[in-house]
C-alpha cells in the first residue's frame, strides 16, 4: 500500500505550471520530497558537488548536506544494497546508477533481494526504494554506456518499472515511486534530459500503473516508450499531413503495465505498432504484442501487430551507425504507413 505521505499530495495537476526541462523535473521532485520528508535521501556516484553525471542532483548537496546527498565509491552493488537496507528499516532512499549499463553490477541485490524480500518474508517486510538511472543511446557513448535494459526488470515480479517521457510525468511519477512502498526502477533517458514541458510547481503525484494516450487517432495504435514517445508524436504529425491519424500511447509504467487503454485503442484502430529503443529480440515489445493478441482485441486486428525497435546489435560508436541502430522518426513514419496502407 502506498505511503501515507501520498495522501498529503494532490492528484495532479495543481495550478501554476511553467516550462522546465525533464532533468529539472527530476531535481524538483527530489528537492520537494526531501524538504517534506526527512526519510528521503539520495545516494549514488558523483551526485554531490559534481551534481550527477547529467546534473539531476545539482545543488541538492548544498541544500541538504552530505548526510542526505551521499556520494559513494564506485560500488554499484553497494549502492543497491544501501537502498534496500535503508528502505527495510524505515527510510525512503532514492539511489542513482550513473548509467543504466552499470546496473548490471546491482542485479543480485535488486532481483534476488529487493524484489523478493517481501514475498520471501510472507509479506511481513517491505522494501520502499527508488533506483534512478539514465538509459538509452544517442550521445556517442558507445556500447557500454547506451543500454536499454528495462525489460529485464519488467521480467522480475516484485519490482515496478517506470519510464517517463515528459517533464510533467517525471515529477508526478517520481513522487509516486518514492512513496509506492515497493522497489521501483525509475528509468530516465539521456536525450530527454534537456527537453522542456509544462510542470506544476507544487508537489503532485501521478499513480503508477496508468498508461496515457498522448495523442488520439483512428488509424493505428502506436505504443511507444521513453524517448520513442516524442519521436512517435513527431511521426504522427507528419502522417497527419498524409491523412493518417495514429494514436500514441505511452505506458509510462512498464510494470505493472496498464494495458486497458492499449487494448481499447486497438479495438478502435484494428492495427498496432510497438516502438522502443531497446533491441527488439526479447524486449518489452513482445509483452505488449502478446497482451494484444492474447486478448479479445485479437478479433479486431486488421493487420499483423508489429514491433519497431533497436537493431539486435550493441550500440556502435560511430555517429551514423549509432543513429541507424535505433528507431528514428522516419522509421516510425515508414512502418506506420505500411501498416495503415496494408503494405506488408
Amino acid at each position: 500500500m502506498p505511503d501515507a505521505m501520498l495522501d498529503r499530495l494532490p492528484l495532479a495537476p495543481p495550478p501554476g505550471s511553467r516550462e522546465i526541462t525533464y532533468v529539472e523535473a527530476v531535481r524538483e521532485a527530489l528537492r520537494q520530497a526531501m524538504a517534506a520528508d526527512p526519510r528521503v535521501f539520495l545516494i549514488g556516484e558523483d551526485i554531490g558537488v559534481y551534481g550527477g553525471a547529467f546534473g539531476a542532483t545539482a545543488g541538492l548537496v548544498q541544500e541538504f548536506g552530505e548526510q542526505r546527498v551521499i556520494d559513494t565509491p564506485i560500488s554499484e552493488a553497494g549502492i543497491a544494497g544501501a537502498c534496500i537496507g535503508a528502505g527495510l528499516t524505515g527510510m525512503r532512499p532514492v539511489g542513482e546508477i550513473q548509467f543504466m549499463d552499470f546496473v548490471t553490477l546491482s542485479m543480485e541485490q535488486l532481483v534476488l533481494q529487493a524484489a523478493k524480500i517481501r514475498f520471501m518474508f510472507g509479506g511481513k517486510a517491505s522494501v520502499p526504494m527508488v533506483l534512478r538511472m539514465p538509459g538509452g543511446s544517442g550521445t556517442g557513448a558507445a556500447a557500454q554506456h547506451s543500454e536499454s535494459l528495462e525489460n529485464w526488470f519488467v521480467h522480475v515480479p516484485g519490482l515496478k518499472v517506470v519510464m517517463p517521457s515528459t517533464p510533467y510525468d517525471v515529477k508526478g511519477l517520481l513522487f509516486a515511486a518514492i512513496y509506492d512502498g515497493n522497489p521501483v526502477i525509475f528509468i530516465e533517458h539521456k536525450l530527454l534530459y534537456k527537453t522542456r514541458g509544462p510542470v506544476p510547481e507544487a508537489p503532485y503525484y501521478l499513480p503508477l500503473g496508468r498508461s496515457e494516450v498522448k495523442r488520439a487517432g483512428r488509424d493505428l495504435t502506436v505504443v511507444a516508450t521513453s524517448n520513442m514517445v516524442p519521436r512517435a508524436l513527431e511521426a504522427a504529425q507528419r502522417l497527419a499531413g498524409e491523412g493518417i491519424e495514429i494514436e500514441v500511447i505511452d505506458p509510462r509504467t512498464l510494470s505493472p503495465l496498464d494495458d486497458e487503454p492499449i487494448l481499447a485503442s486497438v479495438k478502435k484502430t484494428g492495427r498496432a505498432l510497438v516502438v522502443h529503443e531497446a533491441v527488439k529480440t526479447g524486449g518489452f515489445g513482445g509483452e505488449v504484442v502478446s497482451r494484444i493478441v492474447e486478448s479479445e482485441a485479437f478479433d479486431y486486428l486488421e493487420a499483423p501487430v508489429r514491433r519497431l525497435a533497436g537493431l539486435d546489435i550493441p550500440i556502435p560508436y560511430n555517429r551514423t551507425l549509432e543513429a541507424h541502430a535505433v528507431p528514428q522518426v522516419e522509421n516510425i513514419v515508414t512502418e506506420a504507413r505500411k501498416l495503415v496502407r496494408g503494405e506488408y
Binding site: 527495510l88 528499516t89 510472507g122
Partner: protein
C-alpha cells in the same frame, strides 16, 4: 560458585549464573532443532535443502547475547542457530517455517534459507552468499540518519569473504563509520572449498586492514570469546566508532547441505573438531554436571518435539493466497 569464577570471571561481571545457564540452554535448543531438522529431512517430511549449524552454536548464541533488543540482524543460509539465538525467537514459528506452514515466520513462503523475524529486527537469513553484506550498509546508514542507538550485526561465512559484495560493503561501512558488526563464521569450508585454498592469507580478519577498521579472530567454539569480541565491536559501533570485522573460528559437523559425501575432508578432522564441542566446553565452564546437562538436553529436545507438533498441526498456505506479498 567457585569453579565458576575461576573459569570465567567475565560471566560474573555480566551474567548471573541463571543467565549463563540460559545461554547453555539456548545452544542445546539449537542443537536439538538441527538434529530434528536432519531427521525430518531423512524421513522426507520436508523438501528443499537446509544448512545445519551443529558445532557452531557458540558463535550464534555468543554473538546474539552481545547485542541489544532493537539491534538488527542480517543472517545467512546457515542461519537456524542465529535465528533461534536472536531476541524473541519463537521455535514454533521457526519449525513451522522450516516445514512450509502458514504459521511459519514467513507463512511458508521462505523456508530454511529465508527465515526472518521482522518484528524483532531479525531481517532474515539469506540464500545468497554475501547477499546480506550490501544490505548492512543501508541498515547502518539508516541507523545513522535516524540517530538511534542501534547496531547491525551481519553474519556470513568464510566463503562470503571472497565475494565482491564483501569488499564494497566493508569499504562503505568504514568510510562512513557505520554501526555494523561484521561476523565471519569461518567454519573452514565453503561447501567443498577449504579456506586454505580459497585464501592466500592466514586470517580472514587480516582483511580488516584493507578498510582501515579493527579486525579480530576468536575461538568460535568458545561462547564467552565470541560474546566478548562481539560486545566490544557492538559498543564501538554504538559509540560512533564504526565497523569491526570479527572472524569466528569454528567448524560444521555435518555436510554442507542435505546431500554431501564430504570427500573434501577426513573423518579424523571432523572428529578432532568434535572434541571441541562448544556446548560441552561451556557446560564445563559453568560447572554443569553430566547429569544436569542430560536433563537440559532432554528438555530442549522435548521443546523441539512440541514445535514439530505445532508445525504439523498447522495449516498449509492457501493456494488462493499465492499472490500475497509480491507487492506492498
Amino acid at each position: 560458585m567457585q569453579a565458576f569464577e575461576k573459569t570465567h570471571p567475565l560471566l560474573v561481571a555480566d551474567w548471573s549464573e541463571a543467565q549463563a545457564r540460559e545461554k547453555l540452554e539456548r545452544m542445546l535448543l539449537i542443537r536439538a532443532f538441527e538434529e530434528k531438522a536432519e531427521e525430518l529431512f531423512a524421513l522426507g517430511r520436508v523438501h528443499g535443502t537446509m544448512h545445519l549449524s551443529i558445532g557452531q552454536e557458540a558463535t550464534a548464541v555468543g554473538a546474539a547475547s552481545a547485542m541489544r533488543r532493537g539491534d538488527y540482524l542480517l543472517n545467512h543460509h546457515r542461519g537456524h542457530g542465529h535465528c533461534l539465538a536472536w531476541f524473541d525467537s519463537d521455535v514454533d514459528a521457526m519449525m513451522a517455517e522450516f516445514m512450509g506452514k502458514e504459521t511459519g515466520y514467513c507463512r511458508g513462503r521462505g523456508g530454511s534459507m529465508h527465515i526472518a523475524n521482522v518484528e524483532a529486527n531479525n531481517l532474515g537469513a539469506n540464500g545468497i552468499v554475501a547477499g546480506g553484506l550490501p544490505i548492512a550498509v543501508g541498515v547502518g546508514l539508516s541507523i545513522k540518519m535516524r540517530r538511534t542507538e542501534q547496531v547491525c550485526l551481519v553474519v556470513f561465512g568464510d566463503g562470503a569473504a571472497n565475494e565482491g559484495a564483501f569488499h564494497e560493503s566493508l569499504n562503505m561501512a568504514s568510510i562512513w563509520d557505520l554501526p555494523v558488526v561484521y561476523l565471519c563464521e569461518n567454519n573452514q569450508y565453503a561447501m567443498s572449498m577449504p579456506v586454505s585454498k580459497a585464501f592466500n592469507i592466514e586470517r580472514i580478519s587480516d582483511r580488516a586492514a584493507a578498510y582501515g577498521i579493527p579486525g579480530v579472530t576468536v575461538d568460535g567454539n568458545d561462547l564467552m570469546a565470541v560474546y566478548t569480541a562481539v560486545r566490544e565491536a557492538a559498543e564501538r559501533a554504538r559509540s560512533g566508532g564504526g565497523p569491526t570485522l570479527i572472524e569466528s573460528l569454528t567448524y560444521r559437523w555435518r555436510g554442507h547441505s542435505k546431500s554431501d559425501k564430504q570427500a573434501y575432508r577426513t573423518r579424523e578432522e571432523v572428529k578432532a573438531w568434535q572434541q571441541r564441542d562448544p556446548i560441552l566446553r561451556f557446560a564445563a565452564a559453568l560447572g554443569v554436571s553430566e547429569a544436569e546437562l542430560e536433563q537440559l538436553r532432554a528438555a530442549a529436545q522435548a521443546r523441539i518435539e512440541q514445535a514439530v507438533a505445532f508445525a504439523e498441526a498447522s495449516p498449509e498456505p492457501a493456494v488462493e493466497s499465492i499472490f500475497e506479498g509480491v507487492y506492498a
